[in-house]
Symmetry: C2
């Protein structure tokens, strides 16, 4: 078995810290993670610089990241305008978030569901104008899928309908996102089955999980057992969780990679090299807490990593 | 599905803090957890008071805990002498740890494997002298089963052989213990299958897991899927983990109960009442860090606990 760890720290992590990381530090971070074997990184978001000054250099970062061989350069796009910038910069993968809670969608993106679906259609239109070999992969991400801090649980029918509408608008696939840290292993299994039933097994392969209530890696296990093979995570759990002082927001890349490698699942990641990337982030964001258990505790005595290093050597 | 959460904080938690909790505070803690629906508590250990002054009042605590209706009063016994004291005090369940790493066994209990098995036999002898309705349940716990900080991985054949020898000595069942926090979901599945293959499915039902490397609840999920239904945990992760400053040692009772209840698995526990028990422990051990994610983050919006409360009402 093989799993793709999709690093979202340079986007989701940095978006949730007050400091701004220098462009050079971002490049060093991305390069070091790619060197450690991470093959997909969400490097930024095409939002107005005044909203997220931390990510104002996303175009330059995309341009740099594209020079790293074998790396899939992903970005978040809140709308068609952002997607236009992302395409111009040359991103390999665009993710448009669609909050299945309309209340959250209105507050977060200031758009109704209909409006977000309309943006998805516009983005597909732009992508189709490109030559086939230059078209980025386009994912619609069902955010707050496991419940919303404003609305609570979202009905299955609403989630299924929105997944279908994203595919109808022309997305290549949909993703599930536990924006609020409400997921548990049963709800992960349930939603994967529900959404795959609508869009097809090959059109839902990835999940974005948080560790807000400590269930992050248990939810990963449920996701893998449900057939998903792409898991988002953030180095050092960067960004934290405003609702839970001791908790990372995103699941921690290092702990995820350790779990998978310990289970004999190939990630392509060299754990020691991955752990060493923390020092780059620590130096670039002084005082910002980093999370992670395995980096505190160290690898088990006698732990030898077979799959990741073999993969890297191959 | 139904799972028994076995609270080990008053033994394993207190054993790993420097302060000594008053006997009255222990009683209040045990009573409050039982009131919250916890049905098994390891209340102490029968070791010489000079070694663990924190647990010197174990006989009195056992005596008190026996007055709580429906509560299984468990204790740890390092040897036959401890078991004799435990039987005299009236404990319902005795657990004898046998470290599958002989190096660890010699350092921790100062006994070889043969000597521990001999103690197990002596304990069985004592139990058999009792009238049938007064005999405590006797478990041999395979500690360091997932690897040892001194020896690293322990061969399967050695673990299987020791499980068999504990059963041959007359134990009612064996348990698995990830003393070092080395387990991962695959190794949990592997060892459960291995040991059940030797002792029979009904003679391995429980597991003791740590969260040292953040995999505690993922390992619980693997254990449940492997058919186990008794999970040790410690309120607030009390005792911490000396190797990982931010990590609880034992998995946190509150997070475990939340995960199970969120999954619709009956625990009999009222989450709100359980969370409230923390204040007793906090007041009794000032300055001692308590862990737990769900207690920081709060329950998800709209989360209604069906199984636990229904169970309690029934």
């Amino acid at each position: 078995m093989r799993v793709l760890i999709s690093e979202v720290g340079p986007r989701d992590g940095l978006q949730n810290v007050s400091a701004t990381m220098s462009t050079d530090a971002k490049k060093a971070w991305i390069k070091a993670e790619a060197d450690a074997g991470i093959r997909e990184i969400e490097v930024g978001s095409f939002v107005p610089a005044k909203l997220l000054p931390q990510l104002a250099d996303t175009a330059e970062i995309v341009s740099y990241a594209r020079t790293i061989p074998g790396l899939t350069v992903a970005v978040l796009v809140p709308n068609a305008r952002g997607a236009s910038d992302a395409i111009a910069a040359g991103a390999h993968k665009l993710t448009l978030p669609l909050s299945v809670s309309e209340t959250h969608s209105l507050r977060n993106l200031r758009r109704t569901h209909d409006q977000v679906i309309e943006e998805a259609g516009k983005i597909v239109g732009m992508i189709k104008e490109l030559p086939e070999d230059q078209r980025p992969h386009f994912e619609g991400s069902l955010s707050t899928a496991f419940g919303c801090t404003l609305e609570g649980a979202i009905p299955d029918a609403q989630i299924a309908s929105l997944a279908e509408r994203l595919m109808d608008a022309g997305c290549d696939e949909v993703g599930l996102s536990d924006t609020t840290g409400y997921a548990d292993p049963s709800s992960v299994r349930h939603l994967v089955k529900l959404v795959r039933g609508v869009v097809g097994d090959d059109r839902l392969t990835g999940i974005h999980l948080h560790n807000t209530r400590g269930l992050g890696l248990a939810n990963v296990l449920a996701a893998l057992e449900s057939g998903l093979d792409t898991i988002d995570a953030s180095l050092g759990g960067l960004g934290g969780c405003p609702f839970a002082p001791g908790a990372s927001g995103n699941i921690v890349t290092e702990d995820l990679a350790f779990m998978l490698e310990a289970m004999g699942i190939e990630t392509g990641v060299d754990l020691d090299k991955l752990f060493a990337v923390r020092s780059i982030v620590e130096a670039a964001l002084p005082g910002e807490p980093l999370y992670g258990f395995v980096t505190d505790a160290g690898l088990p005595k006698g732990f030898t990593q077979h799959t990741g290093k073999a993969e890297l050597a191959a």
